[in-house]
Symmetry: C2
Subunit: 383 residues, 2 copies
């Protein structure tokens, strides 16, 4: 098989940078993906010995636009309070790279992209993607940039799942790992919430069995409901109470009807309607499925026990948030337990906050300090 | 205004017994409901001095068929493990009555019923109903049966809200109250989950702005999604983990697709599809709205403080469940605090269980003992 990889700037894509390849890869499902594109974005400068690269793995609905302007939304990147010159992940020191995951919808090959042989969008014929598949193509990208070893791989939520998969599959490629608000396996409750979101999308007649793009429509209402459900799980009850409580929206009295009387309703409707502008519904199906399928509880412990020559060098940092009920502290601690009982270098911090799972996106001083402290202490030692 | 109330057996209704009235009532919203029907079901025998009547207030999607066969579903009534001869709520001793709430869909006047002047279903033109309105018509029913004083009023969840409303509005009509898994006000998180459910229904094109009945269709997919969302909140993470975990449904390996691979998905889909057979979508909108609007936090404390001559006699029992995250113990305790600081007779029990909010429907020995103990100790004193 001819292997052809093109790394190029692209002006016709939101991604700005991308690799295109016709190198076939076999996915977890057994499907052979013959050609694909991985779009990415980088910040800072790769140093001469290519030892300062940090790979950020994004979460379910995020993208490669970690910081600065996001050309899709016109807003700041999702982690702009964390990543930048002088920030906790300091782009004066580090070369930060983030790629849109395989199956995503911001420039990487996913269900909304045109399949080369049929000249039609994949739609629901896109192969099922796993976290392992996402990491497999990230590895191809990192190899292509000729980075021998990542200074760190960092991710929260679905990104944290990718971090664990990196540790399992390519431990020799990473020096440090930062795992934020994740778990060794997706819980029954989380699968349940995802399934309801999927049903909301697939129940929308505009979904057309996944073929909405060729029908020139989109299942916006279903996707909006899916986003609203998910959004509740990203917050905590305390945060919702503090932020909204039972406060009314632009009125003094309830309307005795089905308007968005309460601020929390108005907020959720906004979250739903703004999401559908930037995200592909089929991609949402595939991403949630990848998370549901994720379960490395056995393989992770096995690898930590037996592949020690490959992974003993990694410094691990695991972070959880007290009010995160989607990926609660006890699930994050399972990872720490395994790392401790296999004698790995691991630090663990539980950040006290009432902001729920979304804490990783929000201002949390202790959280910033934990990340910068971990990265800088390792800089002193090895960079 | 002529007041006409008919109490009669009805063979053409699922309710078996109902009152029909053209006595107009003014609802909380200001709407004048000129005629309405309240269907109910009773068990056991009313004693001569009519002192053994217990009113059970049902929850969001339940109905008047508390025990024995439910003619709508063909299954056992929703509280058949609690209510019956020799059971915790003993129909050998008590006359148990339960009415379908106003706005419901099992025989009482609600959005699917025909409006007398237009000869067409109310649909979304049905007036908004509050918990106070539900209790107001229950009071009319109780008066009609010539019960001067209820031995007890009992309810869980939305039923518990009705119990609080009874204590506020008609304290002179009740001797005992049992409040299970409720709160003084619906929380922001609970409003949020309800709002997503409503959006799922209203996004279904078959909803037709609430006029689906005259279009001879039903928003079944939207209602099913709404039920699935709600159902997750009725369970606990522990219960989902214990019951399903990541177990697969009728297969050894994942399908790499969007089938219900996991048992929890299959279970939720079943919950959704079976619910739409028995429940009206508009009624679901009105019931959830009534719960969202519920907030008696100020009036309850005020009444307990100042209307003491009317309510001092009531024995209160408040029950919560450790794993209930919809109506958590701390919210139930707010009621107990007020009752204690206003020197009322109140007992409080937190049942240790991993079954979540739905514990009130499930086998919980401690729960049964708490109910029967409370009811019987009061029997000894006063019946």
């Amino acid at each position: 098989m001819t292997k052809k990889i093109l790394l190029r700037k692209s002006s016709d894509l939101p991604c700005e940078e991308a690799i295109f390849t016709d190198m076939g890869i076999i996915l977890d499902s057994g499907y052979e993906l013959n050609d694909f594109r991985i779009s990415f974005k980088s910040y800072g400068t790769l140093n001469n010995d290519k030892s300062n690269a940090i790979l950020i793995c994004h979460a379910l609905t995020a993208d490669q636009f970690v910081t600065n302007n996001n050309p899709i939304t016109g807003k700041e990147g999702w982690w702009s309070n964390m990543v930048g010159p002088g920030k906790s992940i300091d782009t004066n020191k580090f070369y930060v790279i983030c790629s849109n995951v395989l199956g995503g919808c911001i420039g990487s090959t996913g269900p909304k992209e045109i399949k080369s042989d049929t000249k039609s969008p994949y739609g629901i014929k896109f192969p099922t993607i796993t976290i392992k598949d996402m990491v497999k193509v990230q590895k191809i990208l990192i190899d292509e940039i000729k980075i021998d070893k990542l200074y760190a791989v960092i991710g929260a939520s679905m990104g944290a799942m990718q971090v664990l998969q990196w540790i399992i599959d390519y431990p020799e490629k990473i020096n440090n790992s930062i795992h934020i608000a994740g778990a060794l396996k997706h819980s029954a409750q989380n699968i349940a919430f995802h399934e309801v979101g999927r049903q909301a999308i697939m129940s929308d007649p505009n979904w057309h069995n996944g073929n909405y793009l060729i029908k020139n429509t989109k299942p916006e209402r279903g996707l909006s409901v899916a986003r609203m459900i998910a959004h509740i799980t990203y917050l905590s009850e305390e945060a919702l109470h503090r932020k909204f409580g039972r406060k009314l929206q632009s009125r003094d009295l309830v309307s005795f009807g089905f308007d968005a009387d309460f601020q929390v309703e108005s907020y959720l409707r906004y979250q739903g309607s703004s999401f559908v502008k930037r995200f592909d519904a089929n991609s949402y199906l595939y991403m949630t499925r990848a998370m549901d399928y994720f379960d490395v509880s056995e393989i992770f412990e096995k690898n930590m026990n037996f592949n020690t020559e490959n992974n003993d060098h990694i410094h691990h940092c695991v972070i959880s948030f007290t009010s995160d009920w989607l990926f609660p502290t006890n699930e994050n601690k399972e990872i720490v337990k395994i790392l401790n009982r296999t004698n790995k270098k691991v630090s663990f911090t539980e950040i006290v906050t009432d902001k729920g799972h979304d804490s990783f996106l929000l201002e949390e001083t202790d959280f910033y300090k934990t990340i910068s402290g971990f990265l800088n202490s390792n800089i002193n030692g090895r960079l």
